[in-house]
């Protein structure tokens, strides 16, 4: 998802899709986790928010990088999780703190 200035907020859209790749409403609000640089722990987690006025399945993540654990010059990985018709899906993402 590119660069995020430390002490700012990571913002990015995600589209929840079914097994055929078609944008679909999730069973519940999608969640996210962001992992430490060595993937040994979870730095942040939470819910995504539906984007007002967007198509079905469009959600946005808003994760502050003000908390401890983020270092400028490091790249972090995360995952967004959702379910459609009781089938679980996920999408990985990465971003760099500058």
């Amino acid at each position: 998802m590119g660069f995020v200035t430390k002490n700012s907020t990571l913002r990015a859209p995600f589209v929840t899709r079914n097994g055929s790749g078609v944008p679909s409403a999730p069973d519940a609000t999608p969640t996210y986790e962001i992992y430490s640089g060595d993937y040994s722990g979870v730095l942040a987690s939470g819910n995504l928010a539906a984007v007002s006025g967007a198509a079905t399945g469009v959600y946005s993540i808003a994760a502050a990088t003000t908390d401890g654990g983020y270092a400028a010059g490091s790249t972090y990985g995360g995952v967004v999780k959702w379910a459609v018709s009781s089938t679980n899906y996920s999408q990985a993402f990465t971003f760099s703190v500058v």
Partner: protein
């Protein structure tokens, strides 16, 4: 204070594809939507067709304030709505840095191509597989 960028233009290239990745003609022109960091929708416009029935480009004066915008391009193929996410990251300097950041977003986004035109010249990257 947010700074307007003057004179810069940006473009998005889109190849319309089905959910399975097959290039296909949309039922009507795709729609570009952008939201600012406060959640306000600031752009909601149709994307004009280019030289084919499946490839589109959107080119406009960059008159948006410095912010990190999230967006989508929506189009329908048959009766199925496809949604492609994107991020447009505009800095306050109005120079190539903004372009570089936006292009970087493209690499993990859903759109096919960013073109940023700034005072320092064009910056273009090729289309990536979806």
């Amino acid at each position: 204070m947010k700074t307007q960028l003057r004179g810069d233009r940006w473009a998005i290239g889109l190849v319309a594809r089905t959910a399975a990745g097959v290039e296909s003609e949309p039922t009507e022109a795709p729609t570009l939507k952008l939201w600012d960091s406060g959640g306000t929708k600031v752009v909601d416009e149709k994307i004009p067709k280019t030289n084919t029935r499946t490839r589109f480009s959107f080119f406009r004066l960059l008159d948006l304030a410095a912010d990190r915008y999230i967006g989508t391009i929506e189009y329908t193929i048959g009766s199925t709505l496809e949604v492609r996410p994107l991020v447009l990251d505009i800095n306050s300097a109005g120079d190539a840095q903004g372009a570089i950041r936006a292009v970087h977003e493209y690499l993990s986004g859903g759109v096919d191509r960013w073109i940023m035109e700034t005072d320092s010249g064009n910056l273009t990257v090729g289309r990536l597989p979806r």
